[in-house]
């Protein structure tokens, strides 16, 4: 795979690292009992701790700690028995404390790795530097009033897991695959709801460019991207911007950038004199967080099957390709659907690839077209299994099956019902197909002549005519074979 960008004088390589912020799926905040519910009226879920009233003390949420450990295990990472909460100091209107409680030197989770899978069957490991727990800030609305910023503190103090990768990513696509993989792991573990639209999962992207083989270049950080599409767009734009500067003899200034989703451009957030100096120090209100080995073991044993384990199981049990299996595990609902579908009939085990295709291409495209989620699919996994079985036993052709699936989708009837009602069974009777072909040949003497004179392309015409007569129900392979042998006999 060529990951390089063509420049004026030479090729360039992108070097990308991601900081992913994943909201812990907890009922209450990291250090207070306020609710974390999304979409409530402004400032309705703010305790005196979240509003940083004098004298308030933080008390840590045990559940959030467990979810961070779980996620660490899912990232194949080292869990630290000892970690420390620090204050990250800065002033902003949506941060009432004047500091964010985060973890700096001693994070709860250390080095790990996740694997991404490419279409060509290869895969790549992206190393994780760390995962730490921290508080979210409130929300600022800048566009409601010409002279005011509105602040809602409902999100203030909600628990986040910040997952930091090594700069192992080389293309926008890899960045997309990496965040999808993290999202999938979080959702299997149920530690984060993965909802990017609501901001439960968002990312900061660090990006630089270099001549392949050179040292890392100076990087810029693009803040707060909340969709995979925007992440890819922002990386593409920012890489191009940096290359243009370097090729015209300039140098990159390390900067924090914002991505404008309507123009597709990045721009610097603040000028350099305001460069952040966070003055981290251990929060004197919080003792170090210690987790015993026993507790870590207890949490480990509660972990459900992880996407990669499931992937390997699919590859082994159903002889699926690495890529097909990776499509199934991308979302938990997809693997659940596949499991139910393939187990609905013992015969289907031998046609796993067919089941995958009908789920990930045909059904997904229908769902997309109708703006539906797999969870709300009008076609149940068992019914899809039945459809695939009708194909695999040659009862209907793949082409007819597409129409049947559309019918199933709109009427919620089973595949069997539709095929029976409409008489869509494939014609596999040799004599019947022969009869049709004889008719086609008799009706088109001129075409037959031309075909025999060497115009091979006309075979398609005969197939088309015969299919039309059988309303598309003739078994395509049989039709082809019989047609060829009949025409050649004429010679």
């Amino acid at each position: 795979m060529n990951n390089l960008i063509k420049g004026e004088k030479h090729d360039w390589e992108m070097v990308i690292g991601l900081e992913i912020h994943a909201q812990v799926k907890s009922k209450s905040k990291l250090f207070s009992s306020s609710s974390t519910k999304f979409g409530s009226s402004p400032n309705s879920q703010v305790s005196l701790v979240d509003a940083a009233m004098p004298g308030m003390l933080p008390v840590i949420n045990k559940y959030c700690v467990e979810q961070a450990v779980k996620t660490g295990v899912g990232l194949n990472a080292k869990i630290n028995n000892y970690s420390v909460f620090d204050r990250k100091n800065y002033f902003y209107a949506d941060l009432p404390q004047g500091y964010q409680i985060s973890q700096y030197k001693y994070p709860i989770v250390g080095e790990g790795k996740v694997t991404i899978d490419f279409k060509d069957g290869t895969s790549k490991d992206i190393r994780i530097v760390r995962l730490h727990l921290e508080q979210d800030a409130g929300k600022s609305l800048h566009d409601q009033n010409p002279s005011k910023t509105y602040v809602d503190l409902n999100r203030s103090g909600v628990a986040l897991m910040e997952i930091v990768s090594e700069p192992d990513i080389r293309t926008p696509d890899e960045a997309g695959m990496y965040i999808s993989k993290i999202r999938s792991i979080l959702m299997y573990l149920d530690t984060c709801d993965g909802n990017m639209q609501e901001g439960s999962l968002r990312a900061d992207v660090n990006i630089s460019v270099r001549k392949p083989g050179d040292e890392y270049g100076t990087r810029c950080e693009i803040k707060n991207l909340n969709s995979i599409k925007f992440i890819k767009q922002a990386i593409n734009y920012e890489a191009k911007r940096q290359i243009e500067i370097l090729e015209s003899g300039g140098s990159i200034e390390q900067n924090t950038m914002l991505f404008n989703t309507s123009t597709g451009k990045t721009r610097p957030m603040r000028n350099k004199e305001e460069a952040h100096d966070y003055r981290y120090f251990p929060d004197p209100d919080l003792l170090p967080l210690e987790i015993s080995k026993d507790e870590i073991e207890r949490i480990k044993s509660s972990i459900p099957e992880l996407p990669d384990e499931l992937k390997n199981k699919f590859i082994e049990t159903y002889k699926l390709s690495n890529y097909d299996a990776s499509l199934l595990i991308a979302e938990k609902q997809t693997s659940d659907y596949f499991n139910r579908s393939i187990n609905s009939d013992p015969e289907l085990k031998n046609h796993a690839k067919l089941v995958v295709n009908w789920i990930t291409s045909e059904l997904f495209s229908l769902l997309n077209k109708n703006n539906l989620d797999l969870n709300n699919s009008p076609v149940s996994p068992e019914n899809l299994g039945q459809l695939v079985k009708l194909i695999s036993t040659n009862e209907i052709s793949g082409k007819i099956a597409k129409d049947v699936l559309e019918d199933m989708f709109s009427t919620r009837k089973t595949a069997r019902q539709i095929v029976d009602e409409k008489g869509l069974q494939q014609v596999t009777d040799h004599g019947e197909i022969e009869k049709v072909i004889d008719e086609v040949i008799a009706d088109n003497p001129k075409m037959v002549e031309q075909y025999l004179a060497g115009k091979d392309k006309l075979l398609g015409f005969f197939v088309g005519q015969a299919m039309k007569l059988t309303k598309g129900k003739a078994n395509p392979k049989m039709l082809n074979d019989i047609l060829k042998s009949k025409l050649n006999k004429k010679n």
């Binding site: 402004p42 400032n43 509003a51 009033n145 910023t149 003792l287």
Partner: protein, 95 residues
């Protein structure tokens, strides 16, 4: 380490505190004498000693994940200098 005028200005800016010349001079003196005093600790050999972040020997108390639903907006906004439709209203912060 010595605190000079630039350092004191930087600390003041980071803390959003306005200092006049007289105050800066005073703080430079104060902080330098504190730092000199702390400097003495450098005489202790701390090789292979992990930094201590807390002197208490007890462990971090934890709470269960239970949310208390209270509509806080009125109470929270009570002292806000400016508010609108349940939001705090602050001078425009544009990035």
């Amino acid at each position: 380490m010595k605190i000079d005028k630039d350092t004191i200005n930087k600390i003041a800016r980071l803390s959003r505190i306005k200092l006049d010349d007289k105050e800066s001079e005073d703080y430079i003196k104060d902080l330098n004498s504190i730092l000199d005093w702390v400097e003495q600790l450098n005489e202790v050999n701390t090789e292979n000693v992990e930094p201590l972040s807390n002197i208490s020997s007890s462990t971090l108390p934890k709470r269960e994940d239970v949310s208390k639903d209270v509509n806080s907006s009125e109470e929270i906004l009570e002292n806000a200098p400016d508010k609108l439709e349940g939001f705090f209203a602050v001078p425009k912060v544009v990035e």
